[in-house]
Symmetry: C2
Subunit: 383 residues, 2 copies
């Protein structure tokens, strides 16, 4: 096999919001209709007035270049064609949030306070996604959206997700909001279940607390969102979750990768400091050793800066991601961006980061994908 | 002048907590007595049981080496002697928090919800500190503790502090808690007053939200506290405070310095990104340019790693700090630690970082200090 097996560790999928109605348990459909109106209004406001996250110029350019934008988030044929044109043969599918294909009451970003509604929305998304992945199961690893208010329910949803073929694992909320932090023992059944079922646990960039609507809020959001998504890593680490669950896999996606060497350096420094000996009680490994044993980064839009850090991060820990079909992602310029990030790096390492690591974590069958890789994957000598 | 003028940009001072009673407005003294009992109990709990921030071994070693611990936080003669033995001739004095010399209801860390009490406590501390600085005014720049619940009161306290000789500037809470973030226009009178009066605004490592008392909380606190103290920097930056107040000085103290190059790189990247053109509206300079114009780091316990980044941070932006008289600080091993951090670095740069930058920011008179520097400062050829 000469061509490179490319698996994007970060793509997004979700049906147009109105279609989630059919996937909801019937008792939520009335409330869904009200939610849909509000969500459409919010989406309208966000696309107007020049105060949004993305500049008008960049949105127009994306619409033009992508020939209509994020339609591949739900359109099966279009998704296949667009990913293949990008050279991507496998994908890990996250939900959306605050777009016109956000699942009801939940998703990457959610402002809904009522856990019952969030749970119902997550279940609807998981049903849709299981169907969507079943259309191309060897190439699509979907992630179940899991709400954490009711732990027993969460455990049940994880089992249901596994049974329904969502082998990507689970996405937990980046923020625990009014609930205890992820260092709390209440979450123990979630970690135990995911370890037992081989379901990787993910955080994904997206949420920050206290979004206040001031003009500077968007810039502050962009500055901080990655950090908030890192937090669960050290909450699990210091509270011994990785110690107690050595086979649990934890993945941090679309929150950059360049923070990792420095963060591990400082965590290890604290672990080793005589002054802080109380902090490491019960932890048999250094933070960087837990990282190297069971954590991964979903390195979306990986930069040259980050690929040069690959040995400090761990070349076996990095799973490149395209963030398809988002504006800020690499699509439809993936090949060009890959060259910027990977030119001159040894082929074996590029193969790990672009697909082989993800294949191992998410159980893609390289043999099964081989023919498609030869058809659409980039030539190895591109890099 | 051959010897090096050393000014510590981070020291701590405060009287034994019971003595704050005399500095409080009389109507708060009854409630003070109740607070004192609670605080002493908390302090007892924190020094016992092996779950505290610092290991028992390191606390014993510090007690022994410092000959009794943090007595210099209030004892004038002892402070002079200990700082001089460290080679330090000038200092910027911050309050304490969660120690037996914390000011009532406030300080670096505060859990008190009632703003009236916090304001009364801050006022008591500021009175004590003004007296303490007046004993050695050419060598002590004290910082006024400012509460931010009532902006009119805050502005008045800043003026009072200035009049009382607290020329170090002000310390604002690292967390705005239930109040709006520092990007909110409500804080505008504070920035305007500090700019007008030449009072630098400071954040200092210490507080994190949601301290939950679980065993892992201390490790999470240590991991996160610096980041929470950085946040006001980009809140002020993105909301245009540095744009509107070009003569305002902003100082980030005891929260390490190694994060600065990377943070400025990412802030500039966002500022320059075509995708994010909406974010930079109204900002005529890049983030790194505001930094270079009006921001500083109080680089406590500066490491070799950090001194090697001095040109990326700005060698004119770095003010070394000892964190005297805290356990985690450099005292009583300052000279040895300085050699580790600065050996081989050009003398002119060492002089800037160890004292000249701080002299400029806090209006120390080098001429007035010259004789004392010749008496106690380190020889230039030590480095």
């Amino acid at each position: 096999m000469d061509r490179i097996m490319m698996i994007s560790a970060d793509t997004h999928g979700g049906c147009p919001s109105e279609q989630y109605r059919d996937y909801l348990d019937p008792q939520y459909r009335d409330r869904f209709d009200g939610w849909l109106v509000q969500m459409k209004e919010m989406y309208q406001r966000m696309s107007q007035g020049g105060g949004g996250l993305f500049s008008e110029d960049s949105m127009e350019e994306f619409q033009r270049e992508s020939q209509g934008g994020r339609i591949g988030a739900w359109d099966n044929d279009r998704r296949i064609q667009e990913l293949e044109s990008d050279g991507v043969i496998g994908e890990i599918i996250f939900p959306d949030g605050s777009f016109n294909n956000a699942p009801p009451w939940t998703g990457l970003i959610s402002f809904e306070k009522d856990p019952e509604l969030r749970i119902a929305g997550a279940r609807a998304h998981n049903r849709w996604l299981a169907e969507f992945c079943a259309k191309l199961p060897q190439r699509r690893a979907g992630l179940a959206l899991i709400e954490i208010d009711d732990i027993e329910n969460a455990v049940q949803e994880i089992k249901t997700a596994k049974d329904s073929g969502l082998r990507g694992g689970i996405l937990i909320p980046g923020l625990t909001s009014d609930l205890p932090g992820y260092n709390h023992p209440r979450y123990e059944p979630i970690w135990a279940t995911c370890e037992e079922l081989g379901m990787p646990v993910h955080t994904h960039g997206g949420a920050t607390p206290g979004f206040d609507g001031l003009p500077s809020s968007m810039a502050i959001f962009v500055t901080e969102t990655s950090w908030y998504s890192h937090r669960p890593f050290w909450f699990l680490l210091w509270s011994g979750v990785f110690e107690r669950h050595p086979k649990l896999t934890f993945v941090l996606t679309e929150q950059s990768a360049c923070w990792i060497p420095d963060t591990l350096f400082h965590l290890d420094q604290r672990y080793d400091s005589p002054m802080f000996m109380n902090l490491r009680k019960g932890l048999s490994l250094k933070p960087s050793e837990y990282w190297a044993r069971q954590c991964y980064v979903g390195a979306s839009m990986m930069s040259r800066h980050e690929s040069e850090m690959r040995h400090e991060i761990g070349v076996d820990r990095i799973m490149w991601g395209s963030d398809y079909p988002h504006l800020e992602g690499t699509w439809p310029h993936t090949r060009q961006k890959l060259q910027g990030a990977f030119k001159g790096i040894p082929e074996a390492e590029v193969r790990l980061m672009l697909g082989e690591n993800a294949a191992r974590v998410y159980n893609f069958d390289a043999q099964e994908l081989a023919a498609d890789v030869e058809r659409v994957g980039p030539e190895a000598d591109v890099f």
